[in-house]
Symmetry: C2
Subunit: 454 residues, 2 copies
């Protein structure tokens, strides 16, 4: 079963919706995975989406709602009564997904839906989860999990596990707790299967306490994503400060976080202020793109003022204009490299072993060598291409200094932002290239001024 | 258990190694997760790493080897005899990891190690896996899995599952096959637990054939990563063209692929040709950084020739030099935005619904509006800042055209690369900014030429 949404399929679906051909639609939808339905709904207009959604089974409605993008989900939910929402949520959605879904509801509708839910355990799980910040472990954990007390025999434990498994979508791990509900270890499904022929053995004899990794309930989701990735975890238990087991985080949620973080950094580097896709409407694209172009343009205006300051010099040595793009482009390229290395190092946690001095010192080394090689080549080129000696000197000296400054600035600035608790990714992209343009021109004309007045 | 490698710990370890304080080292290592040991080894010099590695238990050695970066692993393996390697591999490593490890060995050593392995099934699994291309499903799948025939009763199936589980690190899913070993469905662990009290029920009565997702053995790993992410899968079975079950891919391997792909695109966009970290040696950094700076510099030289062509015009209207950086920077920013949107769209598979004409048409729309707003602002600025009328006209008209061209070029070029089966990410970063510099200057001076000769 491998579905690919094509323009033809989309056109057919639209046709069926507009003509009210429900039987064709239902036949088509019944074969489809909920992730595919979600993809399809994302491409439809709101009224089409509402029409299609109503044709789904209750379970598929639940699954699709969980998958949908926030804005589409919000609009779909607005079109539904509290009773309809409660029917969908009732025992069909894991607590973490239900809490996500509730955060798309207005507070009135939220309490109405809660009052209509019959399963008290589900209600208390959801209400509990809604109290956590969505960027913390608590905000992405699910309450459904399988836990057994260390004192039980395999036989009793098996019975309990079976009962708990009924409530769950997927089972990855069995948690072992002590009398105070504190997490003390895990019982792998493998062990459970292997020891199931030994009914009287006690959990405490076979459970594993080694390599027990946990998340604290108020830990940041990015930290948790890195931890799950580093230790190759599929599921991570969440505990409070006392070690009491509260929930579990599964890798599928974390994969989405990893992808989102990477996309966000990529967008910052390319000068996009939100998640822009080529399928987005022009207005959405403008909102995410124009501000950055304007920032760059503002930098260009500053550059023009720098050059304006040296206009007399430029009239004396008009050939200096030739190398303006070379100086600004190289400064920009070098700065982007440096800042990108820092941002990536901060994101994947690989740069903690060096202190600031070490980092800047090493970057200085890289900058000096890069600068030396580049300015040597440029000196050769400008000299042999018939420029006068003084200009060849000026351009290559300026390039040398620009490369070093841009390297250091590109390294230092994201570290500074990070230190001040801002997202260091703001120091990449148009911002760094713009600052380096202005800085580079200053250096270029200052060097020129010195060379020609000597 | 949450370990963080600090400079102090690293210094201590180095001290213990140099003084041969094995008992301290062993005590330290015994508490450590293999992923932490891997992180530690990555920071040590080779001789230190070899020393430390020898102190590990066989199982930890196996786990650490699997985690290590390719280059470090290769060197560690070179320091070991075939017998030592065989002891580590023997029944301690999953087939996919063993195959990875074998690909770091010379072909002589590979056959020696294989001849020393006693477990024939393991040997045949590894040899089989070594035949697949590492960028395909076959190249990352593991052969260890749990499968049962649809004709079995729960009781018999349970016995078979227990036996198969003994060989496995983690158990996620039980696969159901027909008489020809063709995959026909899955039996979730949840169902297995729930029905375990019903020993005579047959697998075919309870297994699930819905939503059965598979990977073809020769499918590309990136396609598989997207599929597992879209469908929130933790494990995906791999089949051949006839549907015969061959192996399974787990999400932890896929998470690494997703991260690597994202990092590669990020590096392309920032002008880095390999995975550069700030902790890398200066020589490594130069290798990854200098080529891109030189490409940018070459573009700068081209730019200087474009300006050189129009030097007479520049002498007549020296103020045209003022806006050179504005034109090049804006062209670069716009081009990077456009190409980044395309590259991200291709990477996450969201842009397949529009054809080339639609995409370029929409980008034209965005470019025209962005260009109009920017050139209007720039016209106002340059006019009110006292520039002559003709220059204000020239600059704003040129900017308008540059923004439109850069948008279209930034959209078209990565699509072209992708169509020609090159990595579209090559069209981002220094390459696009450099081309747009040259293009932008041409447009700027041509517009200037027309304006002033009219």
């Amino acid at each position: 079963m491998r579905f690919e949404l094509t323009k033809d399929i989309l056109d057919d679906i639209r046709e069926y919706i507009s003509t009210g051909n429900d039987s064709k639609l239902e036949a088509f939808l019944s074969d489809l995975h909920h992730a595919d339905i979600e993809e399809l709904i994302d491409e439809l207009k709101l009224n089409e989406a509402i029409y299609l959604f109503k044709l789904l089974s209750e379970q598929k409605k639940a699954d699709v709602l969980v998958e949908l993008e926030d804005d589409v989900r919000e609009k779909l939910l607005e079109s539904m009564t509290s009773k309809e929402i409660a029917d969908i949520v009732e025992d069909k959605i894991d607590s973490d997904d239900a809490a996500d879904l509730f955060s798309s509801l207005s507070s009135d509708k939220k309490s109405e839906v809660i009052s209509l839910l019959k399963d008290e355990e589900q209600v208390s799980d959801i209400v509990d989860l809604l109290t956590y910040d969505e960027d913390t472990a608590g905000g992405i954990m699910a309450k459904e999990l399988i836990k057994v007390s260390k004192n039980l025999t395999i036989k009793t434990a098996f019975r309990q596990i079976r009962k708990q498994a009924l409530d769950m979508d997927k089972v990855y791990s069995v948690y072992v707790v002590d009398g105070d509900d504190k997490l003390i270890g895990t019982l792998s499904l493998r062990k459970l299967l292997v020891f199931s022929k030994d009914p009287t053995i006690r959990i405490e004899e076979i459970y594993s306490k080694e390599d027990l990794l946990t998340a604290l309930v108020d830990e940041d989701v990015e930290t948790i994503a890195l931890r799950m990735q580093k230790y190759d975890l599929v599921v991570l238990p969440v505990v409070d400060a006392e070690g009491v087991l509260l929930g579990r985080i599964t890798i599928d949620d974390v994969v989405d976080i990893i992808t989102e973080e990477a996309e966000k950094d990529y967008q910052m580097l390319s000068g996009l202020s939100e998640d822009i896709e080529s399928t987005d409407k022009i207005t959405v694209q403008l909102r995410g793109r124009l501000p950055w172009i304007l920032i760059g343009m503002f930098g260009g205006v500053l550059s023009s003022q720098v050059i304006g300051q040296y206009q007399e010099q430029l009239q004396l040595i008009p050939a200096m204009a030739l190398f303006i793009p070379l100086i600004t482009a190289t400064g920009g390229n070098v700065g982007v490299q440096s800042s990108a290395i820092v941002v990536q190092g901060l994101a994947n946690n690989t740069m903690k072993l060096n202190n600031l001095k070490d980092k800047l010192f090493k970057e200085l080394g890289v900058g000096v060598i890069n600068g030396f090689i580049c300015s040597l080549i440029l000196f050769g080129y400008s000299f042999f291409s018939g420029q006068e000696y003084a200009l060849a000197y000026t351009v290559s000296t300026a390039l040398f200094i620009v490369i070093i400054f841009s390297s250091l600035f590109g390294t230092f600035f994201p570290l500074l932002l990070n230190h001040l608790k801002f997202d260091p990714a703001h120091a990449t992209g148009p911002f760094i290239t713009t600052s380096n343009d202005v800085l580079g021109l200053f250096i270029y004309f200052m060097v020129g001024h010195i060379m020609y007045t000597l």
